[in-house]
Amino acid sequence: MNSAINAGDTAWVLMSAALVLLMTPAVGFFYAGMVRKKNAISTLTMSFVVLALIAVQWILYGYSISFGPDVGGVIGSLKWAGLAGVGQAANTVYAPTIPHLAFMLFQMMFAAIAVALIVGSVVERIKFSAFLVFALAWATLVYDPLAHWIWGSGGWLKNLGYIDFAGGTVIHISAGVSALALVFVLGKRKGYGADNMEPHNIPHVIMGAALLWFGWFGFNGGSALAAGGLAASAIVATTASGAVAGLVWMLFTWRSRKPSALGFVTGAVVGLAAVTQGAGYITPGAALVIGIVAAFCSYGAVLLRMRLRIDESLDVLGCHGIGGIVGAILTGVFASTAVNPAGANGLLYGNPGQFMIQTLGAVVTIVFCFSATWVIAKVIDVTMGLRITDNEEVVGLDMSQHAETAYSLR
């Protein structure tokens, strides 16, 4: 083993990987509680299976094309396919004090949850087999390149100076925007706008949100790739933004009627998503501001989506996408090298250039993810069909796709 490996840093990153692992099934509960009973298993399963699917993809080639030796700034080569050369020693470029395998594992969890987030937009009507194909294609053709551009050594956005601490762009913008594109191809749920589609189990939603918040400590704190002041600072920023955004969302729902539990947890997730990009570059005070702004924007976005009668069912764009975009741009405002010397100064610290870069990176991501996802979805729809039949939708996906029922009466 490389003598430069630090046990404390390694313990922290491994633990963080475990925390992010838990977020993938947690997203499943967060979403499953919001669908109708007859689609609970379907929603849980799509989220959870993604973890297994992406784990295998990541080992076989995903990690290599994301983080492997750069090819022209746009993609990694296949040199690290099957984890060739990815061992117990550190990779000094990515994380000099932890085993390369630990870094690879931590990134695997990010790839998995990005896909799982998209599930929220397609629940209650997507064909399970088509979803699996989509997941694999999206991870390979959208997520992996994007991760390379922004995080991969030699990636063109990284070289440009784009900073994304823990995946605000790579994960949250990409998942949110892709969710919308996918829905444009997939279409609305049967009965959307007419039938009552109330959440069937709010405790599940709350359990999911609690585990997500818990996991986010690893998500953002682990992205420091070391157990020190930066990790602590990132987690404090994370908590600040999540907390304040949850409260603000709750106040919005209160103004319109009553303080909603669903509103609170939604807001918390928005705040956590929004702070992800900047967590390791900003002060706790800036995190509070980001949380508040993100809550406003996402509340508005969800309202708008409902007016437009777009069935992006559980608001992946409205929560993660908008949160991510707000975070990406405000990182260009609030980033400070006083917090993280390896980062950059933002607008507020006299560096409008960073603000421009952040905006550019966000826009590029939006355009790329939307169009690439739309194409992938169309191809799948034309070839194997994205959507189940009307009858299958009426009976519910638990029965029609999995031949199971979530709760038995007996």
Binding site: R257, K258, L262, V302, L303
Partner: protein, 113 residues
């Protein structure tokens, strides 16, 4: 024989059960239902929008009894279930033509004991 169906507030079930016990009526079947009547539903929230859930949780009690026991049972239920507020519920009575205890094959009012 008659079937008495009472739809009451879930919270009142234990009081009603006690009241029925006092008059010697131990047998009954309980179902969790939702209902509306005079008492209309409430508005619920869906993130930024609102929707109305029109149905409130209620408890249905079904008792099959002899015709002669009917009034006592109704009185006991009413006394125990009433709060005076809208939503106290309803009692419906209908005819039952046959009754049978599965275990012993006893029929009619014998089976109700």
């Amino acid at each position: 024989m008659l079937k008495i169906e009472a739809i009451i507030r879930p919270d009142k079930l234990s009081d009603v059960k006690d009241a029925l016990e006092k008059i010697g009526q131990n047998s009954m079947t309980i179902t969790e239902v939702e209902g509306r009547g005079r008492q209309k539903g409430v508005q619920l929230e869906w993130r930024v929008g609102t929707y109305t859930v029109e149905f409130l949780p209620k408890t249905k009690i079904e008792i099959v009894c002899e015709d002669s026991e009917k009034q006592g049972i109704i009185d006991a239920i009413c006394a125990a279930a009433v709060t005076g507020e809208v939503g106290d519920g309803k009692i419906f009575v209908s005819k039952v033509t046959e009754a049978l205890r599965i275990r012993t094959k006893e029929e009619g009012t014998e089976s109700l004991k």
